[in-house]
């Protein structure tokens, strides 16, 4: 009995020593192994992914997002292929749970800036916008991307107008949308939109902000129509807005409600 116990204890000590030694070796060996995206190797089609996730798709979506976030948050320099994998993970996560706020916020915060994947981000944002009907942010981000990355002011303005209609959207969205509408030559549409929002608004402070913006856009519209008349008369664009007064097309430049003056830049009136 004593002999067995001794043998047992020696064996335990021996294997414990081996185990600790091996564990230190493994930790040391793996310290340089950076986190790799496993899913990138096996892109799964959305239908199959949904089928495999079954009733646990919410948790799977969370996990995929976490996988992408932990990878991007690591110190590794991300290659083009790996960015593709991150996009794939976020897309999969968004397909499984299109309602999740973190997915689109993360996608917008990372993909267009660090990976130049604006188009892919737009797909995720569109999906979120469709499902999160109570949230103005996806529409706002879409509008922002049209403005900043695609320089499509008309689409940006339309998206922002749509986002501004969502309950709880900040009033700055309305004014921003109208400014972009004016920039894209859709000043009348901007005024109509502002007026419709103004009529529905009850908050006095918001009403003052909107009224100011409506006055500014009306000024732009007035000056634009004067420029058109100038062009029809002289067959060229005026060099400055003051030229409109000098040629008696208008008697005075309307005051800019934001202070300062209206300016003519690249044939467009700005305030």
């Amino acid at each position: 009995m004593k002999k067995t116990t001794t043998l047992f204890s020696i064996s335990l000590l021996f294997f414990s020593f081996i185990f600790f030694w091996a564990n230190f070796q493994v930790m040391d060996y793996r310290s340089n192994v950076s986190h790799q995206l496993q899913v990138s190797e096996t892109p799964i089609r959305p239908g199959l992914l949904k089928a495999l996730s079954g009733e646990f798709r919410g948790v799977v979506a969370d996990y995929l997002l976490l996988e992408a976030a932990s990878f991007v948050g690591g110190d590794t320099k991300v290659s083009e292929t790996q960015w593709g994998a991150v996009v794939h993970l976020l897309d999969q996560s968004s397909i499984l749970d299109p309602y999740f706020k973190q997915t689109y916020i993360f996608a917008q915060g990372i993909l267009p800036w660090r990976a130049q994947k604006v188009q892919q981000t737009m797909v995720i944002l569109e999906r979120s916008k469709k499902h999160r009907t109570w949230d103005w942010r996806p529409g706002f981000f879409i509008g922002f991307n049209y403005f900043y990355f695609f320089k499509d002011y008309e689409k940006a303005s339309l998206e922002l107008m749509e986002a501004a209609k969502v309950c709880g959207a900040p009033v700055v969205l309305v004014t921003l949308a109208s400014r972009l509408a004016s920039k894209s030559g859709q000043t009348s549409a901007g005024i109509d939109f502002l007026t419709s929002v103004y009529e529905k608004t009850e908050d006095e402070h918001t009403k003052i902000v909107l009224q100011k913006r409506i006055r500014a856009l009306r000024g732009v519209l007035y000056l634009q129509s004067a420029i058109e008349r100038f062009r029809a008369q002289f067959n060229r664009m005026p060099d400055t807005l003051n030229e409109l007064i000098a040629t008696s097309i208008i008697s005075a430049i309307p005051p800019n409600p934001y202070g300062g003056y209206y300016a003519l830049r690249d044939g467009k009136v700005e305030f």
Binding site: G47, K50, A51, G54, E55, F56, R57, G58, V59, A61, D62, L65, L66, D97, Y99, F100, K101, Q102, I105, W134
Partner: protein, 267 residues
């Protein structure tokens, strides 16, 4: 009814003897820790993550009870021949089937109730400490409704497990067939929708899928976890019909099990 209740109680006690309650409690505590740690890893919709994980654990624990304990308890009577002791007493075979089902139902109910209470505790903790990260329309009513639907879904799987046990009398085959039915049940609706209006699939294949939607339960209809996580609006009529669908399917399976068991040679 007295005999069914008695058998149900015995089956449930057998489960308790197998330390099912300790297992469930251990799982629930593990879930709480995991839930709070996992939710902390996110920065938006934290309660959604907690609901996702909590309700998934309710389903996983229920399925584990059915697959690893329920099927064993059912087949043990056949494999160890203890069924002779039961049916030699003044108990009808249909009473045996319903009694066993009642016992398993109590086990699943214990698991669902325990885990869902712990899950609700986690969600509540997050809602208290991070109220800004709870989706605006979140509703406890939908959360508990989701738990009820998960329970109905688990009862259907339990009934199927019992049915396959009676048909095969083998725990391995019953496990395999029940797991397959569960997987098909989770996806049958999606497959049917994917095939709808597509010409590239043969009409025979589409016909088989259509038949499958009538044979296997549409378990995805009972999955309202997403609605529970965000408090999405639920249509009362449609949910009512889903409940009626599930309960009627459950009774059909139980009747079929009784029917097969009545005619079974136990020699």
């Amino acid at each position: 009814m007295g005999q069914i209740w008695l058998l149900g109680k015995i089956t449930f006690k057998e489960g308790i003897r197998n330390r099912i309650l300790i297992g469930i409690l251990f799982f629930a505590i593990l879930l709480t820790v995991l839930n709070l740690v996992f939710a902390k890893m996110f920065t938006y919709d934290l309660s959604k993550v907690s609901v996702d994980l909590g309700l998934s654990m309710v389903s996983i624990a229920g399925l584990a009870v059915i697959f690893f304990m329920g099927i064993n308890l059912l087949t043990r009577d056949f494999e160890k021949r203890t069924i002779y002791m039961v049916i030699s007493r003044p108990i009808a075979r249909w009473q045996y089937v319903l009694g066993k089902f009642l016992g398993l139902m109590l086990m699943v109910a214990t698991s669902v109730a325990t885990i869902s209470c712990f899950a609700a505790g986690c969600v509540k903790t997050i809602a208290i400490y991070a109220p800004a990260y709870v989706p605006p329309n979140y509703s406890w009513t939908i959360f508990w409704l989701s738990v009820c639907f998960a329970f109905i879904s688990l009862l259907i799987v339990t009934a199927l497990a019992q049915f396959f046990t009676c048909v095969t009398t083998s725990s391995y085959l019953a496990l395999l067939l029940t797991a397959s039915s569960y997987f098909i049940g989770q996806n049958v609706e999606m497959v049917r929708k994917m095939l709808a209006g597509k010409d590239e699939f043969s009409s025979l294949f589409i016909f088989v899928v259509r038949i499958a939607t009538w044979i296997f339960p549409n378990l995805s209809a009972f999955d309202i976890k997403t609605a529970a996580a965000y408090g999405l609006p639920m249509e009362v009529t449609s949910m009512g019909w889903v409940a009626v669908y599930g309960i009627s399917y459950l009774f059909i399976i139980l009747i079929l099990t009784v029917f097969i068991f009545q005619r079974r040679e136990l020699g």
